[in-house]
Subunit: 363 residues, 2 copies
């Protein structure tokens, strides 16, 4: 395997392999996003991976710069609701796998896909290696919060893992903290992102064994701004820039957040039946929530990384439109240009050194 191509200096062009067939609006939205970027982002080189006939047909009627945009044929596509294992086994030439192989071979710096999440995680696990000291990958997610953070004043927090690793060890949680912190530093331009462990209480002894152990070790990590434990109520509040948890809890939490707007609207309807006087207020409530949803739209952010691999991967939302694809590619380019993988490797090494020192003191 060649050395990671992902750590390139700021000035070099960034090569992105785009899974043109992944997502609810593929290939149209993906091709449109790539076409727009080819005209507006001179540092990017984009490869659309997928059905060459369909992609070419869209490109023919879409303004783009052919110097910055190429097409790589892939015979198959994995749909959103396919079983990941079966899809990968049955479609070795799926666009997702072809794009991942390009990145593995060093022909591109980052993979961007809006397709089937489970298949994306599995394809990465099969195509890429893990960074040294990392046992399992983490799927991260960004979600809206009140607090703004980082150089970009983003009203977003990062949470990981949200589903790649359902059962985690303390080692995994420490690695996720390091990876999340590095990502927030690079992408949100937040020089010292606060990192917290999700638990059932603020006290260091609260939680299952692996959380208690991870807490003890994260406290000693010199490179992290570790806040300690946060609770469920802190997730919507946005108390921490990076929330670390196992993939099971993170998945439940993320999907609850997705349901929040829906719930408020639903409760409003219930209340509405009860008290007609609230009619105006509750109609406004429902409308307001819809607008808030638009405001805090994930399309603004574009995507979230799958972290832990020795290659860069941005998973855009399945419902991504052109704008979300554009933003996901920009995030991938920023991660590649800033040496994210090097930052993560360095953080993992620091964690290992801190553990070794602690064991020396204890021994």
């Amino acid at each position: 395997m060649p050395p990671p191509a992902a750590i390139s200096p700021d000035s070099a062009p960034v090569q992105i392999a785009l899974d043109a067939m992944g997502g609810d609006h593929a290939p149209e939205a993906v091709v449109a996003g790539a076409a727009r970027l080819s005209l507006s982002a001179p540092r990017l080189q984009l490869t659309l991976v997928g059905d060459v006939a369909r992609i070419s047909a869209i490109l023919e009627r879409t303004r783009h710069d052919p110097e910055r945009l190429s097409v790589q044929h892939a015979a198959h596509a994995i749909s959103m609701d396919e079983n990941p294992r079966e899809a990968l086994a049955g479609k070795p030439d799926a666009s997702l796998l072809v794009a991942a192989r390009m990145v593995a071979a060093g022909q591109a710096d980052a993979l961007v896909t809006a397709g089937n999440t489970g298949a994306a995680v599995l394809a990465c696990a099969r195509s890429f290696g893990l960074l040294p000291g990392i046992r399992r990958a983490a799927l991260a997610a960004v979600y809206p919060t009140q607090r703004v953070r980082g150089g970009q004043r983003d009203p977003f927090s990062l949470m990981l893992d949200v589903g790649a690793t359902v059962e985690c060890t303390a080692d995994d949680l420490v690695a996720f903290a390091v990876m999340g912190s590095a990502y927030a530093r690079v992408i949100s331009r937040n020089p010292s992102p606060s990192v917290a462990l999700l638990s059932n209480g603020a006290e260091p002894m609260k939680g299952p064994r692996q959380v208690v152990e991870a807490h003890a070790r994260l406290r000693l990590h010199p490179g992290l701004n570790f806040l300690g434990n946060v609770e469920g109520v802190d997730i919507p509040k946005g108390t921490a820039d990076v929330v670390v948890c196992d993939g099971f809890t993170g998945n439940v939490a993320l999907k609850m957040l997705e349901g929040v707007n829906e719930t408020v609207v639903a409760l409003a309807r219930y209340a509405y039946k009860r008290k007609l006087l609230w009619r105006a207020g509750l109609a406004m409530l429902a409308g307001g929530v819809k607008r808030l949803k638009a405001l805090t739209d994930w399309q603004q952010y574009g995507g979230a990384p799958i972290l832990g691999f020795d290659r860069l991967v941005i998973k855009a939302h399945g419902r991504s439109g052109e704008r979300a694809i554009v933003n996901a590619c920009k995030v991938a380019a920023k991660a590649a240009g800033s040496g994210l993988l090097g930052h993560i490797a360095q953080g993992i090494e620091q964690a290992r050194d801190a553990d070794a020192r602690e064991q020396g003191v204890a021994g």
Copy 2:
């Protein structure tokens, strides 16, 4: 230990031991609630457990029926933020422990406390036995949903465990399902409450090992209306009448729900800064949420049970006022009068029989 006093026929009076010193508004709110019940609920016999001087002083100026209301002195009180273990060790005559001992001795049918949750779970574990076939207790919580359910058309779902048992086995999850179902049948007058396992996907194989195993066993339980797995998004929706999970995940989920209203208001403020045009709508939004909060107030429900013990325990919210205390006592009386503990024991036996049958088939 005498036989459980909790299964009493519908016509017999129900004896309730009330921790008068537990909760943010104790003893005033607890005494006021008991006084009101003594006048309005002829089937209840209430014992206020706590500082006799303070309780008597409040009773002197509060209309009540002394025939139905007695006071049992307890020298100490456990505060809301005390460490549960230390509090129980240092205060053997705390009102909570004295009340629990009364219930253990059969002098009362149920314990009601609005005090320190951790201390309440621990006091029960020390004072009571577990029902046969139950390894660990579960703290349940009710939370508002859109869907109304049960004979009372309650817009509430039950979730358990929300913090008593942080690490659960498949056995525990099956027991929680049985207990939650029995409770919903009795309290919400829901003849066949739907029960679901919280997981990171709807498929039976999704989730950590214990969730997958519990799913397989719950499918075979003849006495349960088992829906299968639900995801985080289903919690606020209220897809299931009873949501079953480990105490860690349940605690995170419950605390996230508590933060939901807060978040919507917070996001509204963020949006407000961005777009002044939304001003009116967002002001309504904030006001609407406040009203919704009042509507879906936990005070309406009163409290939630701690399940698994051979005695009845209702944990009222720490912020309980008089009305919440009244409702918590009514819930306790309903649980006692309907033989909840017997229903739970029966459900656990059915689960054991179903497992045995399955092993017979498999073997």
